[in-house]
């Protein structure tokens, strides 16, 4: 039997600004059998999405098919009449885009949207479609499947919406599902819930799937075969176990080395406890902050009662899922968002909550590195102007002194000195992030607030930035507050870790202590949710108690009690949801905020 999808020497060209055509997909061939999942993996710009879309006979504007064949069930999709192709799309091949939130219409009910294409194309009538949708809701393990169809998109969580996208795509019983980075924008705990649902529904429905992603660890969980792409060419193609366990090509090995090892204790220990007697470089005390105008009562509280201290020369990783308040913490420390209560201390001196009232020397000592270098660098300024300003502003350097300093700075972030004459749009993403870092370093700061500095970058580029940060730290002795949603990144960089959940610090301490038992239940959930580059990991993880209790629950910001109550496997009803948990000092550099005692944690960890 012929394969369901055969891509044969596919060539796709892109039209450049001056009208010439440049090849971006250069002779890619692979097959996809029925009931099989093939993953396309590569960095941005490798052509993976372009190839996936060719299965629908679609090329994005500016792209042209210039050769090869894409045979779906034996018929070439590229030369099909547009009417036939219309039949193909949506009925036999369904596409699932990255962002579910952007794909749902907020004004229509979920049921209408899930069944829409199946009904429109006349594959089934309304009642059958709704029944089919309900079956899919159950298969995807969505809550309340009987009534889910009558709800609106804003009434379900992001992970549920992502699974509903799969229901939408599968409703018309397609033969092939094209999934484009379906879990990239999700938090780790949400990601595994979605992955598991996708995997089981694909098995149940017997559908074939083309899975596009840049994340090798995700691929290991879901794919039968893997196509590794680089620069529009296939680097390696084989079964998942071969590619992951015995990679042949150098690029695959490079990709694998950029996958950070799962967070474990003892990965990173540069500093010892000897600094601890000094006054901390930065201290946050009883901090409560939030947004909204008016008095503190009416405003939305994003952070509640946060206490953190950063020792001189240490780096503190702040970890949590989206919405937990980690960026807000950085904004409060920098003074962009004045705190409602509590104080920020620099070397023991209280800083004014509002940055407008802080001294220039205090401002100089705390520098902020923004997440998106694309938007944090003014596109109208040249690099030398961007880097020169802090020198002039804080250190009073004159025009003639600046070029030398700028050249030193560029060397420090490992960029050639002639970049000084460029504009930000002439740099790649990783280079921009280096400039972004350099600008913060120009001020000779004592504290660097790094807000998700590598989350917008490809894995290899991001790994390089982390290496650079480590070297910079050694050379300059700057203290870091390193904010990330990625526990592996934090584990490889930070001396201390602060785990935030719904605006509260649930656990903090030195990296080795936080990443080893006893854990706060949330920390344990976070650690176990980080995908490992190992086939079969997903199934094992889903069997653990913390996953059963904590996956697929909505984060609730509560005014009383422990916010993690509804997801916690150790929750004590009547206590955890009524009273604020006490802070337990396990050791002098490890604190857990929980009603459960140290012994109970240990007992649970060994269970």
């Amino acid at each position: 039997m012929a394969a369901l999808l055969e891509i044969d020497n596919l060539l796709i060209d892109a039209r450049t600004d001056d009208g010439t055509m440049v090849p971006i997909v250069k002779g890619v061939s692979f097959n996809l059998d029925r009931g099989e999942v093939v993953a396309l993996i590569g960095e941005s710009g490798s052509g993976k999405t372009t190839i996936a879309l060719s299965a629908l006979g679609y090329a994005k504007p500016g792209l042209e098919f210039s050769g090869g064949e894409v045979r779906f069930d034996g018929v070439d999709v590229l030369t099909m009449a547009s009417e036939e192709r219309r039949e193909l799309r949506g009925q036999r091949v369904a596409y699932l885009a990255q962002s579910a939130a952007a794909s749902f219409n907020p004004a229509l009910t979920i049921g209408e949207q899930v069944t829409e294409s199946a009904i429109l194309q006349g594959r089934m009538d309304r009642d059958t479609a709704y029944q089919r949708a309900e079956i899919l809701y159950r298969a995807l393990e969505l809550p309340d499947p009987d009534r889910l169809g009558r709800r609106y998109p804003h009434q379900v969580s992001g992970g549920q919406l992502q699974r509903l996208m799969a229901a939408m795509a599968l409703c018309g019983k397609p033969d092939l599902l094209v999934l484009d980075e379906p879990t990239t924008a999700l938090d780790v705990t949400t990601q595994i819930e979605v992955l598991r649902a996708f995997k089981s529904v694909i098995r149940q429905e017997g559908a074939a799937a083309l899975y596009v992603t840049h994340d090798l660890a995700v691929v290991a969980q879901i794919a039968d075969r893997i196509v590794v792409l680089y620069g529009g060419e296939v680097q390696e193609y084989g079964s998942a176990s071969d590619v992951i366990n015995r990679p042949n090509h150098d690029y695959t090995r490079r990709l694998m080395s950029a996958v950070r090892p799962p967070p474990e204790a003892g990965q990173y220990a540069e500093t010892t406890g000897e600094h601890r007697r000094e006054v901390p470089a930065l201290e946050v005390r009883n901090l409560t902050a939030g947004y909204g105008t008016g008095n503190a009562r009416t405003a939305v509280k994003v952070l509640r009662d946060v206490n953190i201290s950063v020792e001189r020369g240490h780096s503190v990783g702040v970890i949590g899922e989206s919405g937990c308040g980690k960026s807000t913490l950085a904004r409060v420390i920098s003074g962009l968002l004045p705190a409602q209560e509590g104080e920020v201390r620099l070397h023991g001196d209280t800083l004014h909550p509002d940055l407008k009232r802080r001294d220039r020397s205090d401002l100089q000592k705390i520098q902020f590195v923004f997440q998106m270098a694309d938007t944090a660098l003014n596109p109208r300024h040249r690099i030398d102007n961007l880097l020169g300003r802090p020198f002039e502003f804080y250190l009073g350097l004159t025009r003639s002194q600046k070029p030398e300093k700028i050249a030193e700075l560029l060397k420090m972030v490992e960029l050639p000195p002639d970049f000084a004459g460029r504009y930000p749009e002439e740099l790649s993403g990783g280079q921009k992030q280096r400039i972004n870092l350099a600008r913060a370093l120009a001020a000779s700061p004592e504290i660097l607030l790094c807000d998700e500095v590598i989350s917008a970058l490809d894995s290899i580029v991001g790994a390089n930035i982390i290496e650079l940060l480590k070297r910079l730290r050694k050379r300059t002795g700057v203290s870091f507050v390193f904010i990330s949603h990625d526990l592996s990144t934090v584990a490889s960089f930070a001396d201390d870790i602060v785990v935030l959940y719904a605006g509260r610090v649930v656990e903090q301490g030195s990296t080795n202590k936080v990443l080893a038992p006893p854990y706060h239940p949330y920390t344990r959930l976070l650690i176990s949710s980080v995908p490992e580059l190992r086939i079969g990991w997903l199934e094992e993880t889903m069997e653990t108690s913390e996953a059963k209790a904590g996956i697929d629950r909505v984060v609730e910001i509560t005014e009383v009690g422990c916010p993690f109550f509804n997801r916690c496997p150790l929750a004590i009803p009547g206590t955890c949801d009524k009273h604020v948990p006490p802070i337990r000092e396990i050791t002098d550099d490890h604190k857990i905020e929980c009603h459960r005692s140290d012994e109970e944690f240990r007992h649970w960890a060994s269970a």
Partner: protein
């Protein structure tokens, strides 16, 4: 961070210590480590590309710009000159025409004469300076007022923003030409009054755009970065906000200029704009309307002048707007 000053020796990109981010993973056989350097490469700097229509339009605008400067110098007659009857001789005889008004184009008056027997070409050339000059100064005035207030509203807080925006809404809600008519009939029509009036009326639409851009840019990360650095408000306005407003606002400037030309011409057409004997394209259309039944081209020539200039500016604006991804056009409405 005193190491910064002596980092030049060990921070070199090609030094073995400093560049492990590329080399340490593995040296790729054959291709060398550069093959897998950070992707994608730097995109080339974008340049505005003009379409054929855009290039022709630039020619037209350049032509009118020259006419503003040299028009009165090269005009065959003064704008207020009545042509002598003796100039118009009936071909094949010595008899002059009975009248000099609405004469067809001839060697004496290349574009014919108007309702009083004045040379249309000369009046167009003189009128170019009046019409374009007044419009340009008015538009600049509108920008000065509009951008200043717009940025004030964008950064000045809720109260100031509300006051300025509501006053602006009130002005915008009045039809411009009616507002112009009322003010001019109350205080009379001189060129300075005309400029002030037009400038202030159009400042209201500039205000809206400037405020919208200002608000947009104020919340961008690079402004936040400047604020967190401790920069003052003037530095943020001058170095962060204005440079990012210039391109989009320049496109708007072209469109706004066109509206102002049409407005001034409209006022002149109603007899409230530029006063005779000074020529102005709008009033020239009105004066010569009575010639239309006789097939005179006198009312058509100034109308054509207005059309060529405004359409040409629009063409250029289209190209500039397309360069920025067409987003501008949507935001300007």
């Amino acid at each position: 961070m005193s190491e910064l000053s002596n980092s030049s020796t060990d921070g070199n990109r090609t030094a073995p210590t400093g560049s492990s981010d590329i080399d340490h993973a593995n040296p790729v056989a054959g291709a060398g480590s550069s093959a897998f350097e950070e992707l994608p490469d730097a995109p080339p700097r974008r340049k505005i590309r003009f379409s054929i229509a855009g290039k022709i339009a630039m020619g037209v605008v350049a032509f009118w710009a020259l006419m503003v400067v040299f028009g009165p110098t090269i005009a065959p007659y003064h704008e207020a000159d009545f042509l002598d009857e003796a100039l118009f001789i009936v071909p094949g005889s010595d008899d002059p025409y009975p009248q000099t008004d609405f004469q067809p184009p001839s060697g004496v008056a290349y574009l014919g004469t108007d309702y009083l027997g004045r040379d249309t070409l000369s009046r167009i050339l003189y009128g170019a300076r009046t019409t374009i000059g007044i419009s340009l100064i008015s538009t600049f005035l509108a920008y000065l007022v509009g951008v200043t207030l717009g940025i004030m509203a964008a950064i000045g807080g809720v109260v100031l923003d509300s006051i300025l925006s509501r006053v602006n809404d009130a002005i915008l809600s009045m039809p411009t030409i009616m507002l112009g008519l009322v003010v001019i009939s109350a205080i009379g029509s001189t060129i300075p009054i005309l400029i002030m009036l037009t400038g202030l009326i159009y400042a209201s639409s500039v205000f809206r755009i400037a405020r919208a851009f200002g608000l947009d840019i104020m919340v961008s990360d690079f402004v936040e970065a400047a604020r967190v650095r401790g920069e003052g408000i003037w530095w943020i306005i001058g170095r962060e906000i204005l440079p990012n407003m210039i391109m989009p606002m320049a496109t708007d400037f072209g469109l706004r200029f066109v509206y102002v030309i049409l407005f001034i011409s409209g006022l002149s057409f109603l007899g409230l704009g530029v006063q005779p004997p000074q020529s102005d394209w709008g009033s020239m259309v009105r004066e010569n309307l009575s010639g239309l039944p006789y097939g005179a081209i006198a009312p058509l020539v100034p109308a054509l002048a207005i059309a060529t200039l405004t359409i040409a500016i629009n063409m250029i604006v289209d190209d500039v707007s397309a360069h920025s991804g067409g987003k501008l056009a949507a935001r300007m409405i």
